[in-house]
């Protein structure tokens, strides 16, 4: 009896001695598991990662090949508007861009979220309280026009930024159901409509 438990003990102990890295990762996962709780709409499940989130969770980016694989996979999630209309109301779009609320445990509902675009981007001529995590989008439409390619790319980028850059800092607004199709249309107009303050002083 004693012998058996000794052997079992050794078997359990040995892999730890061989593979330090794996062991730390297992401990890390256990730590995450016991450190969080559900509060309001922010359910504890949110700490469980999607595969690409895991691949983008270290100091170094994944290999080029892995990034390309993720991007191809994310590209498949993009849904273009069924009615073929890409541009909504830029005035509504501006409000969505400014509004940084949504999906925290102090928000009442997982719907009616803002886009939080100003947290990361410069956009219009008049709003000077903008973040710099993303590139400036000032005069976005003026600089690029609104040819089909630009329109489709912009829609795709807002819908799922990871389709173009696997580990982008930018959220997957459409794919992760942060914003609705209508809201994305309004944001598209904010960026591309010549009358929008993004393009007009």
């Amino acid at each position: 009896m004693k012998k058996i438990s000794l052997i079992v003990g050794l078997l359990v102990a040995m892999p730890a001695a061989w593979a330090q890295g794996e062991d730390t990762y297992a401990d890390f996962k256990a730590m995450m598991d016991r450190s969080f709780k559900t509060t309001g709409i922010a359910s504890k499940h949110r700490i469980y990662q999607l595969d690409f989130q895991k691949a983008c969770s270290s100091e170094k980016l994944p290999s080029k090949k892995e990034m390309a694989r993720i991007e191809a996979e994310q590209m498949k999630t993009i849904r273009y508007p069924a009615d073929g209309k890409y541009l909504g109301d830029w005035k509504e779009g501006e409000k969505i861009a400014v509004n940084g609320r949504g999906l925290t445990w102090t928000d009442k509902t997982p719907y009616n979220n803002g886009g939080g675009c100003y947290n990361c981007h410069q956009m219009s001529h008049h709003e000077i309280s903008y973040g710099t995590i993303g590139p400036s989008l000032l005069e976005y439409g003026k600089l690029r026009g609104n040819g089909e390619e630009v329109v489709k790319y912009t829609w795709g980028k807002i819908y799922n930024a990871k389709a173009f850059n696997a580990c982008s800092h930018m959220p997957r607004n459409g794919d992760a159901e942060i914003l609705t199709e209508k809201q994305i249309k309004d944001l598209m107009a904010f960026l591309l409509d010549p009358a929008s303050p993004v393009n007009k002083k």
Binding site: T24, Y25, D27, F28, M31, M32, R34, S35, F36, K37, T38, T39, A42, S43, K44, H45, R46, I47, Y48, Q49, L50, Q53, K54, C56, S57, S58, E59, G100, L103, T104, W105, T106, Y118, N119, C120, I128, S129, Y130, G131, T132, I133, K162, H169, P171, R172, A176, E177, I178
Partner: protein, 267 residues
């Protein structure tokens, strides 16, 4: 004194709201604000409450915290926070200041940690912990950040804290590194320290806990991290949980050699 203070506050808030200034305006404003309050940090009030609490006999065991060991021996407060988090032999755990204070409150005074862990920030016993924190960290103001990384448990917490820092999850795919992983970035007008570097971590770790001018509240490091996890759209970290301590070890170790400016003053 109180009067001047309110006026200063109003002036400061207007400067921020009008938003006419350039990118570095907030840093300048804070630097100026710091100067103005150099000998009158509003945290002093909280710290004074904390000192009183430290010395008062409380809890089922009617004891004070004067024999609480923060790592430098029972009752030694001076410089203790600059060396935290640290591995504590008696509990066999790495602890940050707040989890250590809970240990002292439990062992010396008989106050159940559960009432604090399940409580709310700025309320009840957790608010008392915050006052104690203000007192303790004031006694490390100006000290060099000097966490002792020799113990294997500290090394492990550092590794896990680093993993937590880069851990992307939740509906917005954010990690700490999304907002604190590059130099010179900001969200709206708020400057974000690059917490991967010694300089950034020293500025970030070394100026917390802090008094927040925008809402007139004193926030501990647990409170700061809690709000960052909220902005990250993750679920809520449990008060004093290992992920918060691991992140603190990662930040403090990265900040090593910097100066504690505690309690800080924030926007």
């Amino acid at each position: 004194m109180r009067h001047t203070f309110t006026i200063l506050l109003a002036g400061f808030a207007c400067g921020l709201l009008s938003g006419t200034a350039a990118a570095s305006s907030e840093m300048d404003a804070i630097a100026k604000y710091r100067e103005l309050l150099a000998d009158g940090n509003p945290s002093e009030l909280v710290a004074a409450q904390g000192e009183e609490l430290w010395k008062t006999k409380r809890g089922p065991q009617q004891a004070s915290l004067e024999r609480c060991d923060l790592g430098l021996g029972p009752g030694v407060i001076k410089g203790a926070y600059a060396k935290m988090p640290r591995y504590f032999k008696d509990t066999g755990r790495v602890q940050d200041l707040e989890s250590r204070l809970m240990t002292c409150m439990e062992n010396l005074q008989g106050i159940e940690p559960k009432s604090i862990v399940d409580g709310k920030f700025l309320k009840g016993e957790r608010e008392k912990v915050a006052a104690l924190v203000a007192y303790v960290v004031t006694e490390s103001n100006g000290a060099r950040i000097d966490v002792d990384m020799r113990h294997p448990e500290m090394k492990k917490m550092y590794e896990m804290g680093k993993m937590a820092f880069y851990f992307r999850a939740g509906p917005m795919d954010f990690s700490c590194a999304t907002c604190h992983g590059e130099e010179g970035k900001r969200i709206r007008m708020q400057d974000l320290p690059d917490l991967r570097t010694q300089k950034g971590a020293a500025a970030g770790w070394g100026s917390w806990p802090a008094y927040r001018v925008s809402n007139g509240e004193f926030w501990t490091m647990q409170h700061r991290l809690n709000d960052c996890f909220r902005q990250q759209r993750l679920p809520e970290p449990i008060y004093g949980s290992d992920v918060t301590i691991a992140l603190s070890v990662y930040l403090a170790a990265t900040a090593k050699g910097g100066t504690m400016l505690t309690p800080g003053i924030k926007r």
